[in-house]
Amino acid sequence: MSRSIGRFVMLLAFTLGIGSNTSFADTPIVELRIRNHLFFPDTLEVPAHTKIKLLVINEDPTPEEFESYELNREKVILGHRKTVIFIGPLPPGEYPFFGEFYPKTAQGKIVVSAQQPSE
């Protein structure tokens, strides 16, 4: 009985990807800075079908919210703080994002290209 429960929990953990921490090692990290309510860089190129760890650093004293309807992401980053957002894997295309608190200036996009980006 208890063994079958344990197996069920493991199965559940596997399905929900709770055990997916091993994938941290090979997840590419992309850095995005917020300065004077602008995103630097304002265009991020990332490979297709790959999970990306987006490191967002807010250099402004004011809070900002990273938001993208296309990526289904929304996260508050307080002043002088940094945070991590996982995105993807994504099919090739353009995914605009913006800072919800200052959307007129804080605009950017993620360009997912089919081939490896040249850096």
Partner: protein, 436 residues
């Protein structure tokens, strides 16, 4: 929707706010779109102007006041620039409008290619400044809409309150009505919506009045008509007493029965007389203390028969009242006390004045009444079976109804509590005091 008024105000205000604000939002969006078009047009005109100027010889600057910046490029060579210190191109050389982050700001850019002279002209405007300008203009137009909502709310509140005034007056009139007041409801100005309501209420009132009158007269007439045959019965009983031995049990029971019928009929009549319609309003100033003394003396035989001690305490107090009715009230309260108090018990009558009231308190040392029965005892023909042996005391159960009718007539209040004796009940009738 507990209150019609609250519902009307809240729902109206919500609809007004919702539509006004959404409309304002739409207005804002389309204004901003138009403003953007104008700003873009300005960028284009400036670019064309610069193109023409740089066709010949370059000049220093276009306009010192302008919020626009520009660069003129020929190949990789920066011919001229304004508003920007940097020597990199603001954006890529693709003709058309676009956005770019440059020099710590976000810019709306236009790249214009002058084919004749192979010049690239980039005109740009900081988006934060552009929106700040557009926004301050438009949001000043929106602010009044926002501020007008509380004012509209106040007006809606006043209008709806005013509109519901006839309804409020109708309910106020119905609320203020005395229980026995069956006169029609009159509204100063009858709104068409309320016409049916007030007509129906008034028709109901008059039907009720007829029915109540019929009931009252029937009781009074029947009681009155019964008096004569009962008197005849009493005489016959008296005559019979001489022929039969007095301790004949059947005869004793017959006499007790006839006495009870006579009491019932008398009580029914005094109940009828104690209703406001029947009592002649011949109010006068009465010394309640003295009246109590008279009634105690009148009922002396009754107390003596059960070896009960009846005492009167307090001081002379004047009230406004009907002497006959108040005598009936005292008689009923005292007979009740005597009836429900076992032989050898105590009955204490107190008449005293407090700040602006005069109270009459009748206390007995009987078994007492349970607090949950206090409301019941004033009902007609209601009698409580609270004797330990289960037997009942003779009586018809109208006494306290009469007491209450008379108290109501004098706008007096009746309270019941435990008596000062070990057991028993205290009836307190509280009158308004007449100024001495």
């Amino acid at each position: 929707m507990r209150s019609i008024r609250l519902f009307l105000i809240a729902a109206t205000l919500a609809v007004l706010t919702l539509f006004n604000f959404v409309a304002a939002l739409q207005g804002y969006s389309s204004s901003l779109k138009e403003a953007n078009k104008l700003f873009d047009q300005h960028l284009r005109q400036t670019a064309e102007l610069i193109a023409r100027l740089y066709a010949g010889h370059p000049i220093k600057s276009l306009d010192d006041e302008s919020t626009l910046a520009y660069q003129v490029w020929r190949g990789q060579e920066l011919l001229a620039s304004f508003g920007i210190e940097h020597t990199q191109p603001i954006t890529d050389f693709y003709p058309g409008f676009g956005h770019a982050n440059f020099d710590g700001y976000r810019w709306r850019t236009l790249v214009y290619y002058d084919q004749d002279h192979r010049n690239w002209i980039i005109t740009a405007e900081r988006t934060d400044l552009r929106y700040q300008l557009a926004e301050s203009v438009i949001s000043h137009a929106i602010l009044p809409i926002l501020l007008s909502i509380p004012l509209a709310g106040l007006l809606i509140w006043l209008i709806i309150s005013h509109g519901l005034k006839p309804l409020r007056m109708l309910s106020q009139q119905l609320k203020n009505k005395q229980a026995d007041d069956l006169s029609p409801v009159v509204l100063p100005e009858l709104k068409s919506e309320l016409q049916q309501v007030s007509q129906s209420i008034n028709a109901l009132m008059s039907r009720l009045e007829v029915a109540l009158n019929r009931e009252k007269h029937f009781t009074a007439d029947a009681a009155h008509e019964l008096r004569t045959p009962i008197s005849a019965l009493k005489i016959q009983l008296h005559n019979l007493e001489e022929d039969i031995s007095p301790d004949n049990e059947a005869f004793q029971q017959l006499r007790a029965g006839v006495d009870r019928i006579q009491h019932l009929v008398e009580q029914l009549l005094s109940l009828y007389r104690s209703t406001p319609e029947q009592l002649a309003h011949n109010f006068c100033r009465i010394n309640l203390h003295q009246l109590a003394q008279e009634v105690i003396a009148e009922l002396h035989d009754k107390f003596e028969g059960k070896q009960q001690i009846a005492e009167l305490a307090g001081q002379p107090c004047m009230i406004e009242g009907d002497p006959f009715a108040l005598t009936t009230l005292l008689q009923n309260l005292l007979s009740n006390a005597s009836k429900y108090t076992p032989a050898g018990g105590h009955i204490l009558v107190t008449v005293n004045a407090e700040e602006n009231t005069v109270y009459l308190k009748v206390e007995d040392s009987g078994p007492g009444i349970a607090p949950e029965d206090y409301d019941k005892i004033f009902k007609r023909f209601q009698r409580l079976n609270n004797k330990p042996d289960g037997s009942t005391t003779p009586g018809c159960g109208l006494g306290l109804t009469i007491v209450r009718n008379i108290a109501d007539l004098h706008r007096a209040r009746i309270e019941i509590e435990r008596s000062c004796f070990e057991s028993g009940t205290a009836f307190i009738v509280i009158f308004t005091r007449t100024e001495d």
